[in-house]
């Protein structure tokens, strides 16, 4: 017990010290992190050839999607004069994400790129970054009402929404009722795709109908259970869409468990490795995605461009794999390209 008390005192002291230190750095820029920051900017000013610090904050860390983006960014760091920094929250939580963004602001990185969990609450934090002289971009998910200089888009909202609807329509024979299992209720990209799915379904497939849209968070088991409940709520349901990488395999699993392969068809935004078994057994008809690694590379490249004060051209030659990346000046969007359709035939080509 005595040892325990000593231990807890030590922890308390350490925590207090840490708090005091971080408190200091945010108020006056005399302590260590700020010193390293000014160091970096000084050397950056001294010789333009120095590596630019490009920081990317994903929605959450440790899921294969963002890890694949990170791999693309690291690849870019081998070719381009950049230092690639990558850190995200361990849960898709807006507050935790904002904290990481603030720490990068304190470190005075050259470019800060965020895939915001909640665009609205992220906007003021991005303003702080801009005020600190940091270039700001968004990637993967946009924060359109923020000070971000440009958005690196994986595929146009129209492209994804249309591809999802087309693939599902093909599987369902262009008729019948379907439902959507989405994830975060405030995620701008998911909601954007859903809006397009509604429009395309109404315009192009008059015999198809969206009966419900539910939100499972980033929880696979919950997505599976909700898909099951949807099939029970609508016995004549013949289609399900898994709107994110956790619900895409979830809806397929629900169809498989219910013994409804061939009766209920699913499509989703799933990563290849997670979708492979479902694409093979037919519980998933197709997965709509994009080359995530290339998106990471493009993100890092865009970070370097803005750090060097360059503006994007209408057509950009990024790398051998991405010779013609379009930039739309009106929406300030850099577009990776058309979406990638993953089926049982090509799923084996991807290792994430």
């Amino acid at each position: 017990m005595r040892r325990n008390r000593t231990g807890s005192i030590a922890i308390t002291v350490a925590v207090t010290a840490a708090l005091a230190l971080t408190g200091c750095t945010s108020k006056n820029n005399n302590t260590q992190p700020a010193a390293s920051g000014s160091n970096a900017s000084a050397s950056g000013a001294a010789d333009a050839g120095a590596k630019k610090k490009i920081a990317f904050v994903p929605k959450l860390q440790g899921i294969p999607y963002f890890e694949a983006m990170n791999a693309g960014g690291q690849e870019a760091a081998k070719v381009l004069p950049i230092e690639w920094l990558y850190q995200g929250p361990t849960q898709a939580d807006a507050a935790a994400q904002a904290q990481i963004v603030r720490s990068y602001i304190q470190q005075k990185v050259d470019t800060l790129i965020v895939a915001p969990n909640d665009p609205n609450s992220m906007a003021p934090v991005l303003q702080q970054a801009k005020d600190a002289g940091i270039k700001v971009l968004t990637s993967d998910t946009d924060a359109p009402d923020s000070v971000r200089q440009a958005f690196v888009s994986q595929a146009s909202t129209e492209g994804i929404g249309t591809a999802l609807t087309d693939q599902l329509a093909k599987a369902m024979g262009e008729k019948g009722k379907y439902a959507i299992v989405s994830c975060g209720e405030t995620a701008a990209n998911l909601n954007g795709w859903i809006a397009v799915q509604k429009t395309v379904t109404a315009a192009k497939y008059p015999n198809m109908q969206i009966v419900d849209i539910v939100y499972a968070g980033e929880d696979q088991n919950k997505a599976t259970q909700m898909a099951t409940d949807l099939m029970n709520a609508h016995p004549d349901l013949t289609g399900l869409v898994g709107e994110c990488t956790s619900s895409a395999p979830g809806v397929a699993q629900a169809v498989k468990d219910a013994g409804k392969i061939g009766k209920v068809f699913t499509v989703g935004l799933g990563t290849p490795m997670a979708m492979a078994p479902y694409l093979k057994d037919g519980s998933s008809s197709a997965s709509v995605l994009w080359d995530v690694k290339n998106l990471g590379y493009l993100t890092a490249w865009a970070g370097l461009q803005v750090a060097e004060g360059k503006s994007f051209k209408a057509d950009n030659n990024v790398s051998a794999a991405m010779p013609d990346i379009k930039y739309d000046a009106a929406t300030k969007t850099l577009l990776l390209g058309p979406p990638l359709i993953i089926t049982k035939d090509n799923v084996g080509q991807y290792n994430y």
Binding site: M1, N4, S8, L60, Q61, G62, I63, P64, E67, T90, Q91, E185, V211, D212, V214, Y215, A216, G217, E218, D219, Q220, N221, T224, Q225, M226, T228, D229, L230, M231, N232, A233, H234, P235, S246, P249, G250, A252, Q253, K256, D257, A258, G259, T271, M273, A274, A276, P277, Y278
Partner: protein, 345 residues
Amino acid sequence: MTTTNATTIPPATPSSGRTRGGVARGLLPPAVTGQEWVLIGVLAILWVVLSLTTPAFASSGSIQPLLSAVAPIALMGVGMTMIIITGGIDISVAGVLMVTGVTSAKMLVDHDASLLVAVLVSVALGGLLGLVNGLLIAYGRVHAIIITFGTANLFQFVGRQIFASKTVNGIPSTLDVFGRGEAGRTLGVPHSFVLMAVVVAIAWWYLRHVQHGRHLFAIGGDPVAARLAGVNVERRVLMTYVLTGLLVGMAAVFIVASGTSTLDQSIGSGRELAVIAAVVIGGTSITGGRGSVLGTVFGALLVQTVASGVTQLGWPSELSDLFVGVAIAIAVGADLIRKWARERA
């Protein structure tokens, strides 16, 4: 004696630790308490209403997945009920789930482990993490919420290290016997639910008729008095955390079995709150000294019924959070009123 689960301290005779029926009959709470009858009533009403208002709520295709979803929560709830009865709490459940879940999933994928090995490893590992919690809480004399808050972060860190920033892909069908599919049921009843029911039955008997079980109520009511009455408080408290760890290890197997063929870091997220919600709605007093595992099962059933019901009715998803929140508020309110009534009496 107006209370339902009065804390009675039977004389602790050292030689008769496992005496059955060592408690005088008159001192026992009723087999099914008042709050449990209320929950049974609410569940019955909900099920009838949902059967009438939705096309398939009462069908096997709806009930079976519901029972599969309830099983892991109720199973963890058994341990959590005992912990909360002693006046403690364990918020490290999500972390234990992550470590045991990812370890067993990796053993299945990388080492082609058999069902038995996967279950044993998961349960044993869960017990070990429970032992860490139990030792710190029983002998460290720091409040359980602080200790398990610390270990929750620690366990989640360990879990993420094992994940190594990747998902576990291609989990084989080894665990299907506890899954949501056809292989996971006998005579239409999910195996995971049956196993949970057996554990609940044993725990119900233990808490009601075994002296050591009654000691837990005594500790929650007044640990000093319990100690003076000869109860080995540290050992009993330690046992509840170890048991919870073992049950969480088993629940992890259920969750992996009923998940997709890919396991990601979301395996534990929010599960500790789901378990605590089930326990509190089930009528266990969050301040300790009173509670029952039967109520916890009904609490878990209520939470999942609400979630499924909201989806099947086509209502907005966030309403299920609202309803569960209201249920918790009512349950805690009822507990406070009972306590107030007891103190006035």
